[in-house]
Subunit: 511 residues, 4 copies
């Protein structure tokens, strides 16, 4: 089914234990700052009903019912491209797939890993995942992925931690009907607006840590689940929030620290429990899918940032300066590259886990993520440089609304003729919001750190091919066996006349 917005909103008033700024949240829909992200997340239930977007977000399941496309498993390059289109559309719209982003990626990764485990271990996880997927489709639930453990001392493995053994989520009891889990997940996006939490390991575990090799799903209101929302970017809402923090007042607080205080999970919702050898596959599959989402998220952000820098240049009257144009050109280029590399990752998918399981190309998707993560601070620097100091000292909504001082602000903070001062203030507020918030950190750590991409890139590059290219160039044997470089022709095949040794510029040379 496809739920209505009203059905979705109602479902959030489910008795969940939610905290924000040290206060217990009575109803996420009416909390001053949390309600912003709820409103944004509700777009996930607006889009499938809209004639323009229905074809993108709605598909049919085997039973012929309408279901959300993002709840299906990608099997082809086309599926990945459509998933990407959904993500980009929703992120440009203003959020939207914020709700399903992590969850859809976790669900896809569950399927990949279940297939591998069933084949190699003879388990029946595949059927369980599929049953769970059908449940989600039938009830059209909002899902998120709870991946990152709190980790404790990062130099120690889960079972070696000194202060307590719960820094990574683990099974503490195996019962007849299900398991009991304890631990906490941190930075979990979309959790205030989700119905279901899909939990998965965030790293490779060894045998000693097999109790931490754990994947399952629980509803947000399951007993023992406690959600602590992050600080909102601003402690404002409504028109004030919209003016002062035009992007983030609609998107934060979304992350939660989620505590699992001995939570019971029935077996039919457990998708890994102890199979430590496959924690790597699960972490890798999630990372690959989620980096695709990351590139989609960034398309929307980078377009707004590049455009904001261009608007600021225009309003300030500096858009014709050569160095400003070079900075804008660079920003547009990075935006374009992230877009194209994300597309390339879909066009040439990984099929090593079966030809009916499509995952984003590793080189392209990690190159895309690394491109935006490593260049994001430079994007911010250029934007701040172009905007001028006003992008931090810009007046607020409360300043602007005060009739005693508005005339002075209006007069003195104008710039290019024909542009209203209010528009200039708004673009400065946008730049302040976009560069002074959590985006820099999210860009580095969201979807995995830069070191993680470097590891993937190193692990995924075709070193055999690259070394063969070098061997061939250096005349070092060994390239002849390579399927690409070993097949190439050679200029030795060209029959040349003998060299004329009479030229004076070249020494007499051994032949």
């Amino acid at each position: 089914m496809i739920r209505t917005v009203a059905q979705y909103l109602d479902s959030l008033n489910d008795g969940r234990e939610m905290w924000c700024m040290g206060e217990k949240v009575k109803d996420v829909r009416t909390h001053p700052t949390l309600s912003g992200i709820i409103r944004t997340a509700a777009l996930d239930y607006v889009l499938p009903h809209h004639p323009e977007y229905r074809h993108l977000f709605v598909t049919r399941n085997a039973a012929g019912e309408d279901v959300n496309f993002l709840l299906t498993a990608p099997r082809t390059a086309e599926d990945l491209l459509r998933r990407r289109e959904c993500f980009i559309t929703a992120m440009r719209t203003g959020g939207g797939v914020l709700l399903h982003c992590m969850g859809a990626d976790a669900l896809a990764a569950f399927t990949v890993t279940a297939n591998v485990m069933d084949k190699e271990l003879g388990t029946e996880y595949g059927a369980r995942v599929e049953n769970y997927r059908q449940l989600l489709m039938r009830q059209d639930l909002g899902i998120t992925g709870a991946i990152t453990d709190v980790k404790g001392d990062r130099s120690l493995r889960p079972s070696q931690q000194k202060q307590h053994p719960d820094y990574y989520l683990r099974v503490v009891d195996r019962q007849k009907d299900g398991i009991v889990v304890r631990g906490a997940k941190v930075h979990i996006s979309a959790s205030p607006c989700a119905n279901e939490l899909l939990c998965s390991p965030c790293r490779t575990h060894g045998e000693a840590d097999k109790d931490y090799a754990l994947a399952f799903a629980v509803p947000c209101n399951a007993p023992g689940v406690k959600m602590l929302a992050v600080e909102p970017v601003s402690r404002t809402y409504g028109d004030e929030g919209r003016f002062d923090y035009p992007k983030t007042s609609a998107t934060q607080p979304t992350e939660c620290l989620i505590v699992f205080d001995d939570v019971f999970v029935p077996w039919e919702r457990v998708f890994m429990c102890g199979e430590w050898q496959y924690s790597r596959t699960l972490a890798y599959a999630f990372a690959s899918y989620h980096r695709l989402f990351g590139t989609c998220k960034m398309v929307g952000k980078l377009e707004a940032m590049t455009g904001a820098a261009a608007l600021a240049a225009e309003y300030n009257g500096v858009e014709h300066a050569d160095h400003i144009r070079k900075k804008l050109a660079w920003m547009a280029m990075i935006t374009h590259m992230v877009f194209e590399l994300g597309k390339a990752a879909c066009l040439d998918p990984v099929t090593e886990f079966g030809h009916d399981v499509a995952m984003p190309n590793r080189m392209s998707i990690n190159a895309a993520k690394f491109t935006f993560a490593s260049n994001f601070h430079q994007m911010c620097q250029h934007m701040q440089d172009i905007a001028g100091g006003l992008c931090t000292t810009v007046p607020t909504y409360r300043d602007w609304q005060n009739p005693d001082i508005q005339p002075y602000i209006d007069k003195y903070l104008g710039a290019k003729a024909g542009v209203s001062t209010e528009d200039r203030l708004r673009v400065m507020r946008l730049i302040k919001d976009m560069t002074g918030n959590y985006w820099q950190i999210d860009t580095i750590h969201g979807e995995g750190s830069m070191a993680a991409q470097q590891m993937f890139l190193y692990g995924s590059a075709d070193w055999d091919k690259l070394k063969a290219a070098a061997r061939r160039a250096a005349h070092i044997d060994g390239w002849q066996q390579h399927p690409l470089y070993g097949q190439l022709l050679s200029s030795d095949m060209v029959d040349m006349p003998a060299v004329d040794a009479s030229y004076g510029s070249v020494p007499e040379t051994a032949k």
Copy 2:
């Protein structure tokens, strides 16, 4: 005289027109967020009374009275080094010279420019500046420099602006006793806590814009002066502010948009009025002095940032990782370079405006500023990278103070054994505060944009010497006249035996 803290605080309750977040401020000393910066600024009146720092901050004037050293004009390399020591000490302490920083630099620049004008034009500005300086010393007033005009359309000169002629501060009436000025200055640091505003042009003006070539001083409570404080980084104060925003709750809001709504200035407080040819000297002199302050400001900031990254690495248990160490080494290096280049700028001062006027070395001071401005975002990236995502999702004071959730935070956000969770939260809050605030923008635009430093560096480099070096290396005539490269010896002076042409590896060569 050297005022007491109480005298200083009393002086701020002077009826000034101050606004913050759209509300009129009744008394800056008791405003929830403004009081933070007032407290910090008061250190300027604590330090001169303290036995440890008295030798640094207090000197004697000609009359043998104790006066604040920062109110004197630097005449030697030693004076510059002591000024730098005052600035660094106060910035490490937690602010302090926040109050005098802009003002002391503007005052020094007034003296330089007055000397040049008096010599070339026969004016008597030097005496006026000196009288004003004596007034400041006698009353020990807090001063700030009001430099940056609001500028309007940056592609147009002041008198060409299309919307109105007041985008740069200008004289609108010349009367018998003084002048009337109109316009606005923006991003003016330390203005809520100052007693006096020292106003100066922010750029070179041409003859058509001579009404904008204007320097003077007025008290903060002068009729027609309106001060609009910027948004504070956080809308909190007290213990909450101290925990959540440990640095900025003590330093923002400090900038104001200052409107001069037809303000009268008596002639004895006017230090330039129409001498457009000297606006360049004044802008340059201020920039040079203020970039020295900038490097001092950054020493304190960069030390705290580098240390915070090191603490976060330690607490997270990653301090032994090679790539973490390389990032920390780089941060320590940048910190060190800014420190040393600032010192070098004092050791080799500019004396082109007279040997009793010492200004920081142009190459060194602009290299120092450019080093921190161009690398600051990378500093932030490294710090955020090392700290992990927790530096944005870290709980707040209100979370931590709630006894229902503190135990969960305490348990799950711990890390290395032996480090309290609260300490880890505090370093994460510090990193969040330092990277998500106005510092990035201040680092670029404070003390002049990077383009301004590039212009100074290009204009100050010794191109004759550098080209002579290249000409000599390339055997292009013209280097022989250069005092350094023209004097150097040459290996042509060495009497060598004839070359043996029998070696096979070298072609027979024209000789």
Copy 3:
């Protein structure tokens, strides 16, 4: 027709005036250093005969004759992809399209511009270009593009030059049968091995410079054409060249300074003469095509460089070090990005000059070029850093061949067990060759400087879309008209319950 290698080689002995290192070249086929590039270029005539590559390089013309695919005009994305495949194959093979690269791009650009001129001016250039193309196909001639003028003082337009008016190639006489041209083209690749020179303006010309708006083709042995080859990277050849300079001994000298000393060109070979308004189109079309070639050229180079760094790491025993792996990962990523962005440029071609003229996508192709040009020096730095100092102090062929010292070299310059010293020397020679040659400069200036790409990127970015994204995010009117951003839904459509104002963390807010 498709010529044999022997036919091709014979055709080069055509009496052309060629100089190298100050000596007149009797026969390019037997000159010690020039013969290296001739051998490489001959691959263009080997590949079409080889069963493995015939399908790629050979197509049929309208008359059903076999012709070289690179001599056809690209009309679709598929044509561009096949062209790219030809280029990449030949460049990996060891050169090859070195011969046709510039010429094929100039020929394609002639067609684009002729179409536009014929449509707008009623000229008949299209037919002339087509006739010339048929001639090339029938005779299977080797072609190159002579584009870059010597330029003189770059701050002056062609007709303003002070020393003489010939710094840009120009028409000096218009006769009944043809024109007489004078000037010089510089850095012209593949000219020693070409049969024909296709000349084109390298920049936009204004009306005053219409005599410089000139495109035509002449044979290399036309009277008045003088070709001065560049210095070879090494003055060696044969086995010595192959060991010491394994890449460049096969590819340099290829560039010539070509002087047109009053050369006559019959009208049927003239493709622009005075139509200054179209010099921009021609320069832009050539640049777009040639940057596609540039990305293909770099695929081969970057693969060999990345592989060489990996081999050096392996041989030196450092391949497991974390910082080495991060550098290798980065090199592989850049290589991958250039590959994918080149492909993306073909997949989404420019069709603004007609739907049967396909040109590479501007954003993608300029992003690809800028990526390798701006990062190439960093590629070199990483490679040199990984290889160690031996990549410059490595012994030569002559050292290695000397039996008195070979044993010492063999013993002491070995490294990892199992790797022969000779192999290690070879990879070091390769790295020395690749980083100490003309590649750095070629990478910057070949196919246009970085400033040229920045100009294209600035000019090609979809600023309307980007500004609409920012306006929408900042709530500034104007985005509503945009076809993409104006159509997106809004979260205002969501019907939310009223905010509960009882929470203590948020101030009472204007609504």
Copy 4:
């Protein structure tokens, strides 16, 4: 004594076994390419005799004899500054201290280490070093340091190497009168022009590798010493070399691979033999001194490079373009920073090995080295970018000397009026020479790799101070004990009136 040039040149004809390009060198003074570096090195014997430089290079020993200042041990900041002045003067002159550079640094390091060993072990190395130093002074010998071992597999320690145990120089026999050593040193600068080789470990050795903890000196003609010179940058000399390779024809080949084929060393020339615990001190001391030399070397190089870029911009007519000026400003800034950081390293020396042993400040000297090493490729890129493609395709001496083609070159490769074409060619040749030679690699690896500087910077930073700064800022206890940050005052000392809680913009806050 101070030798004459003639005495010095004579001393080189000493029967040493020297090879170049696979040929045995009969006399280094007359070898076509080696003679270039000999001529340059002879400046070391010209300068002390010249009235302008005598005060710098000549000092008196205890016996009142004139001796070369560079052979004395630096004891104060002033000594380091004078040493720096000698190095910079000689490097700007065109080499000069090329000869003494490595040797003087090795000699200073011997003294430091001998002092430490004598104090801790009771050895008498100090006297031996001093006697050897007196010998050098009396005979005014040319010395170089032979430091870098060939290393083999870098992942293995010396005694673990698999192919043979001689990858690091080691003692193979301890006899009554002396020791026998075997191994090889690589990249040894100035060895063709030195009289003496001062050998030292290049890394820290452990106990198992104590036979490699070895320092001594031998004459270049000692039996068993074999010197294999590197490939010269160009295989030309005389006027051709001077035109085509204006810098490197005077400075390469200077590095040798030096084989020690069972060389006997008398005990009085042995300065470490088995004291593995002190190999670290020796390697560190040499590195510190030699990085000071490195900064001096780079001052000359960077000045010529920055000037060459400025000349090329002038000749090409682009010196007024904004982006060119920004690049030039950056190059001048880097040049200035290396200069100032080198000076700062002398002004604040390390004294941990005794107050009469002055070593360069670790933070400053490593920051200086890292600054030029990490930015050198960018310097090259800017220079090549500004110069244009002609800096690789520029004609050679042989082209220019040919009267048939010179007129064409003269006409077409001119540029700005008033600049001769020959001058333009010369600056292009200089840029080609400077960016296409071994400098990039030398800049990375000479005086230790960038990783070595990062290690030093990490090891030398004052983490206690930096962490104290962060703790104080974050209100984390522990800073109170720090001598600097623990002493600073606090704004808590300021007595402020109570906050007025009536403002609407701030929430009611816990106090």
